[in-house]
Point group: C2
Chain length 259, copies 2
């Protein structure tokens, strides 16, 4: 049994009244969490908060102290309700200034479109002092990184492109592998045995996820861990138990894969 | 101008490693927030947290002190990783006991299916002392309410059914109305004017939401407020400005509607 390595952790802050009110469905958390999972960074909490300065400042300061990385999405556009850059500057107690490289890139972007690089659009060049820019290949207006906080757009296509740029710069942790076994039986019929299996393999994390679809209901048992041999033993034990009770396996992708 | 009524606020806690890891996409926040919006309850923050006792207890205690209502989803099934009931009992420092009515309903449910009401399934009848049950017409295992905390299932179909049962028991606040004007122009081209409009109408909340779809890009301007006459004035002003700059209106539903 190997010594427990220090895990690398992250939190995400989704900023926007439109997500909180249910008008917009967030899709950014799942994308960021999966991408981080691939390099062994563990998403440990996420918050969805309104465009309110005090709330954003408090959340950023609480979470950046607690995690290796904090990712934010939303609120860096040109409008009066885009206040994330102001909030981050306030959280770090630094000035917010128009960044020359951001000004240059945005000027060129709007010139090329023959559009006006107006005062509202210049808001998007305001970057907290000491931050470095995160490139935005979709619509030019950059995100930025300050200390361990990564500030990204809310529009998924832009956020995803920024995240692709950020990922190679992050220091990952040890990655987990996972196995999934899916059967068309109710989770309650195997819950006790899976609980016992969890106790038998404390270094593996076993979760049961029921599903209900047009094709029928069932449960996926997902086991995650570092030791592939242990995961294979767990998979064998799950399948053996399902065979014993005559529960059919059904296809849902994912064999041993990086989670 | 009417005196500012006390607003009724809510928070949501989404419990589950599978949502945090990106394996499962949460759909419950949007549903709950929209339903609450219809009765004038304002969703002010949401957290997505793992199945970890200390984290759930701390989040519940922090948010129930701060909001009129707290809603949780996830972690009330039959498996070893379903620990929400334990967490709520710990947060309120009360015992967790098998509730006779829940036991009875579940026994009848599994009898009818000729399925075993085993020890794992009996876990779903464990309810914190002093809590009242929230009926589950989909799969019987109840949610529960203790003080201002409503504990619901994570499976959307079940959560929605529980929420339908909860809604008539809540005390709502004053509802907001909203207008939406959508145009196929970039948000940056009207951001300054909309910011000025916001200053002119401080009692109305004006937000700009850019969109990018296969049909093209654009921006929806959404104004929310209590005073319908003010909202109509804001709508007229937005449309007048769009007409001035020759920006076409495009169809996206929602006239003056309860948000």
């Amino acid at each position: 049994m190997s010594a427990q390595p220090k895990s690398v952790t992250a939190a995400m802050i989704i900023i926007g009244n439109e997500v909180l009110s249910g008008r917009t469905q967030d899709k950014n958390l799942a994308f960021v969490a999966q991408m981080l999972g691939e390099i062994g960074v563990d998403m440990q909490e996420a918050r969805i908060i309104p465009d309110v300065l005090e709330t954003v400042v408090a959340s950023v300061n609480e979470l950046r102290a607690r995690h290796d990385y904090v990712f934010t999405s939303g609120g860096i556009g040109p409008t009066h309700d885009d206040i994330t850059a102001d909030c981050i500057a306030a959280a770090f107690e630094v000035k917010l200034e128009k960044h020359p490289l951001a000004m240059q890139a945005l000027q060129a972007h709007y010139d090329a479109q023959e559009a006006d690089f107006n005062e509202a659009r210049q808001r998007m060049a305001r970057i907290p002092e000491g931050a470095s820019l995160i490139e935005n290949p979709v619509s030019t207006a950059p995100g930025f990184k300050i200390d361990n906080v990564y500030v990204m757009a809310g529009v998924p296509k832009i956020m995803q492109a920024m995240m692709e740029n950020i990922l190679p710069t992050l220091k990952g942790g040890e990655t987990l592998s996972s196995i999934t076994v899916t059967s068309s039986i109710p989770e309650g019929s195997i819950a006790s045995e899976m609980g016992a299996l969890q106790q038998q393999y404390p270094d593996v994390n076993i979760g049961l996820y029921p599903f209900y679809s047009a094709q029928g209901a069932g449960v996926s048992v997902v086991a995650r861990g570092r030791d592939v041999a242990q995961l294979q033993a767990v998979e064998t034990a799950i399948k053996a138990h399902l065979a014993t009770i005559g529960a059919p396996l059904v296809d849902r992708p994912k064999a041993i894969a990086s989670q």
